[in-house]
Symmetry: C2
């Protein structure tokens, strides 16, 4: 079924111990769409400036990504991010950020996208996420990401957003901050008390935890990647694989959510194996399925 994503499209420059990737394609909506398109048609809503050097038909060649919602603003510039990862790849610093088009009005949801059943609102101001969500007529399952800046600075907007979405997908530090609780299991429970139906907590190389309002819990380790070249986009690829699988399944029960988290884990593992979206570009659905089977075997006892 139809899956819509709103998020950033970026010109990234990334330094890792494996090298430098200059002015490469990035952004939450791009990583999400790449990963989700293994499973389901994707409708992308995002904005770029006239400086954007990427040919999106080529970027998404062979994938069912509808670019009707891609706004090219002639008098704007594209969002830029520059970051450095250190030796252990656990931490990164932002060297430089230029919001550009992200600081303007958000892109509109095209009329042809308004019937989308599955929606992912990548990280941005909760108020904008709400405005975007309101443009969708009857969403069946909406998920969102957020970050420390909104948790600390815009708690009321975020609280409103949580009441409107079905699933929050955040990392462990954000979960702890949002819940004001170090223990992740308790943090998950506290976030569920904020009236969101399910919460997925991403723990990087330690995997993820999912819990829902019916008291279900699922824990999955990360895929044990021996080569990590560039962690950029891992979280958005995770969300893409997760939401893509749910949209494909057309179901939102906990068993589906568990398998979706596993597919998200697998998608992220391909992303981090190379710079930018190269890890996903060279991957096939067959590779995805094989790695899912491998992951299932790795955790079985």
């Amino acid at each position: 079924m139809s899956l819509l994503v709103t998020g950033s499209i970026a010109i990234d420059t990334v330094k890792t111990p494996y090298g430098v990737s200059e002015d490469c394609i990035g952004g939450s909506a791009v990583y999400f769409s790449m990963a989700a398109s293994f499973f389901s048609p994707v409708r992308l809503v995002g904005a770029i400036g006239s400086d954007c050097p990427f040919d999106f038909d080529e970027v998404f060649a062979g994938r069912d990504v509808d670019l009707t919602g891609l706004e090219v603003r002639q008098h704007s510039k594209t969002f830029r991010w520059m970051g450095t990862y250190f030796d252990d790849m656990d931490d990164r610093k932002t060297d430089y950020i230029e919001l550009n088009v992200l600081a303007e009005d958000p892109p509109k949801v095209p009329v042809s996208f308004k019937d989308s059943k599955f929606v992912f609102l990548a990280n941005t101001a909760p108020k904008l996420q709400l405005q975007l969500l309101e443009q969708i007529e009857e969403p069946m399952f909406a998920a969102a990401d957020t970050m420390d800046f909104w948790i600390e600075g815009h708690p009321d907007d975020l609280s409103m957003l949580l009441r409107k979405i079905n699933c929050l997908i955040i990392n462990e530090d954000e979960a702890r901050l949002l819940a004001n609780e170090h223990n992740l299991i308790k943090a998950g429970e506290k976030i569920l008390d904020m009236a969101v139906g399910a919460v997925v907590i991403k723990k990087g190389e330690s995997g993820s935890v999912v819990c829902d309002a019916s008291g279900n819990t699922f824990i999955l380790p990360a895929y044990p990647a021996a080569e990590v070249k560039d962690p950029t986009g891992a979280g958005d690829s995770f969300a893409g694989g997760l939401m893509g699988y749910i949209a494909q399944a057309g179901k939102t029960d906990f068993a589906t959510l568990k398998t979706a988290v596993a597919y998200g884990t697998v998608a992220a593992s391909f992303t981090i194996s190379d710079f930018s979206i190269n890890g996903l570009t060279k991957t096939t659905r067959h590779d995805i399925n094989n790695r899912l089977a491998e992951l299932r075997k790795l955790v079985k006892f």
Copy 2:
């Protein structure tokens, strides 16, 4: 089958955000024996001084722990450790340490213990671990723990030990240090190249990874404990549950090792729920089995 453990017996004083536990029983051999005795008879080899206030018959009441190898040295003092855990329980500092009897000759393995088939050598000098192991006639499966001090200061002894044991059980920082490799999957492979048959890497609240020389890998998250009162002894309880189950099964194939790691995980989860060995004292084999079933369900997809 018979399971022998050599390790420390300690008088611990532990501070955590939940309170202070003064002069309580601790030590690797104690936590190990408590956890292992859910599964198998245990033979404890350790030394204490005349100041030791604990009644070991009472400590191990109802458990099959053979204390023939417990040496009480009239002119010595018992090992003491004092430590503090901080808010997030992830880090601890040692406030005070008194080696006492641990700085003397190691205890002898009693004649009646020499036919032990399963052996766990808790953390101490690799040279002593080797001497202890040599006293066992025909061990079927020997495992050992070690720490940064021996990895950095006594690499040759440790290298010799690795060739003599079947399994190394260490935490992630130790694995990275030993292998000189940050990526844990690669670190595991490098440690296997040191001629040990299997390596279990403990990642605390992120679970554990096991790999063996036949190319098998298993990943298990930690049990999602909502209450962590005192992490002391978690690693030794993990090893106890693991080795106890292997001794009970009498098999050392990878499927057995996987289930053993799961039992170790469960044993550790009970240990950290209370101070000292109290979490284990009040636990039954029935509780252990229930939690294993729960853990199995939590990771299944």
